[in-house]
């Protein structure tokens, strides 16, 4: 199991997100929800929009284009027009760095 470093924890304040591009992976969205870090794919499964441009509320992120909401923790598509969940990643925070497990 490869661990990939994604960003520093202090780059993502509570209640915000950060879009990260890493070679070999789709664009990622890192969320800080009450100091807990979550990483999901950044591009909405419905339309071609970045979830990092979306509103974050109650552990959910709303796509800025069609207002579909996703659960940040599980990736579940909560409202139409999205029906396909966002891919989620297993996160490890080590020494102030957010890592994800990369399984091929």
């Amino acid at each position: 199991m490869d661990m990939v470093s994604v960003c520093k924890t202090d780059e993502v304040a509570p209640g915000t997100s950060l879009r990260v591009e890493i070679d070999g992976l789709p664009p990622l969205a890192v969320f800080n929800v009450d100091d807990e870090f979550f990483v999901i794919d950044d591009t909405c499964t419905h339309g071609d929009a970045s979830l990092c441009d979306g509103e974050i509320e109650d552990g959910q992120v709303e796509c800025p284009w069609h207002n579909a909401r996703f659960c940040i923790k599980t990736g579940k598509a909560l409202t139409f027009p999205a029906v396909v969940p966002q891919k989620t990643y297993v996160v490890r925070v080590l020494d102030g760095t957010v890592h994800i497990e990369k399984n091929d």
Partner: protein, 338 residues
């Protein structure tokens, strides 16, 4: 007097001219640009934009396609804003939004009105020029004296005579549908602006076609089924599932299609059989999406889907197809009748 303003798209050198009585969306589409949209009536939010520079008027500030929070942040809907000056806007675009037939405003004369059920009628209009549109597209109809236009899908096919047919449901207390049924007389004119819409028939895709419609959603799927006649590469007989409340809501679809010489499998479903006027209903009872897996012979991933009707019906169908049966969303085309 109508002025024309110069509208620049931020972050590039694309620009278009827009009349002061045209919305930014329609102005752009008329000039062949692929500005993102779906409904054209302020409900879906697909045409959101940021006004970088310039001034616009919002024709429908209460439009449900934007949340109050988004408005506070300066977001607007391109289908509801007309320019008041030259502008720079930031808006999404894509090839799929470019119209094969550039939309135009025309005068259309009502030439026939024919009842199909107790509250659904077929309206036929004539324009002075050829009717050019793709099967499944819609037009905006605007009546003299009513400022607001409404979207209605064509049920026929493009033709040189300039005939545009619509299947319209009379909505209780609805402003435009009631005016069409009660006020508009054969011989009267209205403004027809079109074609619009991205849920049109993809004839190059050979997968067999399944149409799912409910309520007033019959028109575009009839056009699509009629359109398969000229699309030689398509495999199989198109299937149509149509949902209505009671038996009296189901028009004689077989008769309508046989006139145009196309074959289709027709599967009506009613949700409230107790509404039967005289004879009892012996057909399927339930919601139309529940019958899709039962009526089709192959795995659901084998088909191309065209959906039209009330937003909750569309949502139930798309969820069923994508989440339960793994149909790729790219195989599903829909118009939500807001």
């Amino acid at each position: 007097m109508t002025d024309r303003f110069h509208i620049k798209l931020a972050g590039g050198n694309v620009a278009f001219d827009c009349a002061s009585d045209d919305t930014l969306l329609r102005g752009g589409l008329r000039q062949g640009l692929g500005l993102a949209y779906e409904c054209n009536v302020g409900a879906c939010g697909s045409c959101k934009f940021d006004l970088v520079d310039g001034e616009v008027d919002d024709l429908f500030p209460a439009a449900p396609g934007l949340k109050p929070k988004e408005r506070e942040r300066g977001k607007r809907l391109a289908c509801q804003c007309v320019p008041r000056s030259d502008c720079t806007i930031k808006i999404r675009s894509g090839e799929e939004y470019v119209s094969d037939h550039v939309p135009r405003k025309m005068q259309a004369r009502l030439i026939a009105k024919r009842a199909l059920t107790h509250d659904i009628s077929e309206f036929s209009f004539a324009t002075g020029e050829a009717a050019q549109f793709l099967p499944g597209q819609y037009a905006l109809l605007r009546l003299e004296g009513i400022g607001q236009a409404r979207a209605y899908s064509m049920s026929n096919l493009a033709n040189a005579d300039g005939t545009w047919q619509f299947i319209i449901r009379k909505v209780p207390a609805g402003i435009v549908s009631n005016a069409l049924f009660d006020t508009l007389q054969v011989g009267s004119e209205l403004e027809l602006d079109g074609p619009y819409g991205i849920a049109y028939l993809r004839p190059q895709i050979p997968r067999p076609i399944v149409c799912i419609a409910g309520g007033s959603g019959l028109a575009p799927v009839l056009s699509i089924i009629r359109g398969t006649r000229d699309a030689g590469g398509l495999r199989g007989i198109p299937q149509l599932l149509y949902g209505g409340r009671g038996p009296g809501d189901i028009p004689d679809i077989a008769a309508m299609l046989s006139v145009s010489g196309v074959e289709a499998g027709i599967h009506p479903v009613v949700s409230m059989p107790e509404l039967a006027p005289v004879a009892a209903w012996s057909g399927d009872v339930g919601f139309v999406h529940e019958f899709v897996p039962k009526k089709l012979g192959q795995p659901l991933t084998a088909y191309e889907y065209y959906l039209a009707g009330p937003p909750p019906m569309i949502e139930a169908c798309v969820r069923m197809l994508v989440a339960e049966h793994n149909v790729p969303s790219t195989q599903i085309h829909f118009d939500r009748f807001f």
